[in-house]
Symmetry: C2
Subunit: 438 residues, 2 copies
């Protein structure tokens, strides 16, 4: 860098507002969009920097330059991703140099670095890759451990500008390093701390109603805690955020707010530590030394797939029998044909027969049976699309059977059913603090 | 609308460039981003309109106004989503009226519509919802079948402006109607036609190498066909697009290009009609009247879940036995304990034993066995994380066993394994044109 190196303890003016621009014509098609900005936003929020504006622009020099200028009017930190490749389409370097009035020169050290990267794979560097060694005057080239495109860090008047490569596996580790080496210096004394609370078994308005008195009190506290409710099918999230100078202060405030909200929500709150429902259920099974077995019909294996997304789940997942046909329900689970004939495959007796059947046949502590009509076909006036029955058998002699009607299309019904099944298991496990003696 | 109504056949100046702005502070957090623009882009592309710029802005009047003005300099059609709710945070109406210099008046008809919507649910309209009836002078309020927020269609000098609600289930049907009632008039004689080709079993560079001579010839044709390659784990997509005045001309050009590419790619091309791999496999099973059964270990039910995402899949999916434990492999599939002990659970003999076991026990035509190490734990130097063995038994006496090593973290390994398993089934079915006599 051409300016003098900063001493260890030196402080730059505090950054509070960031703008993010994703560059690439493929991000303007119906098939791809920018998702890098989510990761970037998380890292910047940690430093107390909020994102005020995002833009997505194609491989068009003039559009990148003018969008850069527009976003910069709303931000004191600029982050751009993509457009750092070797081809003529890759214009981010040129556009930023142009917008900032900086000349663009080849950095021989960067050329060598790229050449060595090719050499390690026994290849000669194509001439076109020299473009990736163009560096705006005064900028620092950031090493890319997973690709040829270096990132760029520039500190012009008006606040720093960071250029990152587009592929997430190149962008993410580079940003992690830049936070330490360059960005942290610009972070203010106050950082943003966040707590995510996840809730199952209540609608958004029921959560809002219950929590509103608590969060309006915390919103008026000093420092204030802000609350956002995000609803998605089968799950409600509460995000609590607070700006604070010290981690201990923030965590202690968030702990208190969280515990007040937990009291209000009771067992409907399933996670206050970022864990997903399948992780929470897995944790309870591990803690209580239970093994689980599933008999899935309408969810088609989704519950087992979600449970086994969790590393180490082979410790507590025994088996899932996805018995789509009635014959399979009888053969593998021992659900009597006559029971299916008398009640229909989607019924409480069959769901319970599936749960107890899979439990007996695997010797698992907990058996789950799920049967329903995912749609779009197969519904009747008495048993409409979206009707799902979930039974949990065990641990011990615990039995729970519940019937739901979920809205939406096939995949959405499947997901909501998987969420309700995991939540049913969670509630049964909460009521059974100790492993049942066998 | 205050200007004169347009006659049936009247034509407006052709729109070619659209800008999309998503409004909402929650879209600037690490947890949510704009995805509405993908759906909108697809609909606009169909009309021959390309998206040149997208922006995401918070609930901040001045930022919405200035971003509107910036994006409008790059677009002759503006689409905004979100910020049409009833609260003080919902500023899109005000910002657009301000940017266009239009006054904002309450539309009594819209008030009545919202009031009736509440009344149908036995509720009184809260006063705050009157905000949703504010309409810029000269704008048309667009009815919302799934919510209270009406959309708005404005036709100022400089090109039309469309405001849509943020929730996808409100936005999508409204856009579909606006395309017919208002937007189609602005579409030029030439529209964009697209063909998506999906490929399994080749890397991106192998696809590129094979297809390059074909697509460079089509790129030079008149009208030219543009090709884009999109790589994702377990799948490569080729997107062919052409601008043409007549559907027949476009479809016939795309048919010819597609068939040339199909010849080059052979059976690695699995779909040229937007179908996913699970739909293609389902179609082959249905056509050949085969039933399938699965024995899944490392995929944990994901293959069955993907197959059963397809409506009507109960016609050909019999069962999937997710045998996570070795004991379950023996009990439910009849894989001998000694075989597992001698070869390890992740081995060709065990995968084949799982495939034949599940086939025999269900009486299905095709049995699939999948066993592997999804990670992050459980790997050894001989059997690393990502090692997956896939066996297909049937139809008839067909047998196929293949071993893969997939990169990436647990979920990615699971997805790639599910993709490889579905692809293995597809290839076996392609080789068996007729149902095997039983």
């Amino acid at each position: 860098m051409s300016t003098e190196p900063k001493g260890e303890g030196s402080r730059e003016p505090t950054l509070t507002r960031a703008g993010i621009i994703a560059v690439g014509s493929e991000l303007l098609t119906p098939f791809r969009t920018d998702t890098n900005s989510l990761f970037i936003t998380g890292k910047l929020n940690d430093l107390g920097i909020e994102v005020t504006l995002k833009a997505i622009v194609g491989d068009d020099l003039q559009a990148i330059v003018s969008t850069f200028e527009h976003v910069r009017a709303h931000a004191d930190l600029m982050v751009l991703t993509g457009g750092l490749g070797p081809t003529a389409d890759d214009l981010t370097r040129e556009a930023v140099a142009l917008a900032l009035g900086l000349s663009l020169d080849e950095d021989t050290e960067v050329v060598e670095r790229i050449r060595r990267r090719f050499a390690r794979r026994g290849l000669e560097m194509p001439e076109v890759n020299r473009r990736q060694a163009l560096v705006p005057r005064g900028a620092i080239a950031l090493e890319n451990a997973n690709g040829t495109a270096p990132g760029l860090w520039i500190e012009p008047a008006g606040g720093p500008v960071l250029l990152l490569p587009g592929p997430p596996r190149e962008m993410q580790p580079m940003l992690d390093r830049v936070v330490e080496t360059h960005l942290a210096r610009y972070a203010g004394p106050s950082r943003l701390y966040r707590r995510v609370m996840r809730i199952a078994g209540r609608t958004e308005s029921h959560v809002e109603e219950a929590v509103q008195p608590v969060y309006s009190r915390w919103a008026a506290a000093s420092p204030p805690i802000a609350t956002t409710i995000l609803a998605s099918p089968g799950q409600i999230e509460l995000h609590l955020t607070v700006h604070a100078a010290a981690r201990e202060e923030a965590e202690s405030l968030l702990d208190r707010a969280t515990s007040e909200i937990a009291t209000v929500l009771g067992p409907d709150l399933f996670s206050a530590d970022e864990r997903l429902l399948e992780e929470v259920v897995g944790g309870l099974l591990r803690q209580r030394r239970f093994r689980i077995a599933l008999a899935e019909s309408c969810t088609g294996g989704l519950v087992a797939s979600r449970l086994t997304d969790v590393p180490g789940s082979s410790d507590y997942v025994d088996a899932s029998l996805v018995t789509y046909s009635n014959a399979a329900k009888t053969r593998f689970l021992g659900v009597p044909e006559s029971l299916i004939r008398a009640n229909g495959a989607v019924s409480a007796p069959v769901a319970l027969g599936m749960a107890t059947g899979v439990r007996e046949r695997t010797g698992a502590d907990v058996g789950v049976g799920i049967t329903g009509i995912a749609g779009p076909g197969g519904g009747t006036p008495e048993k409409p699309v979206g009707l799902v029955v979930i039974a949990v058998a065990g641990p011990g002699d615990a039995i729970s059977v519940r019937t739901f009607t979920f809205p939406g299309e096939r995949r959405l019904v499947k997901f909501q059913a998987s969420q309700a099944a995991l939540d049913a298991v969670r509630r049964v496990l909460l009521d059974s603090a100790e492993p049942v003696l066998r």
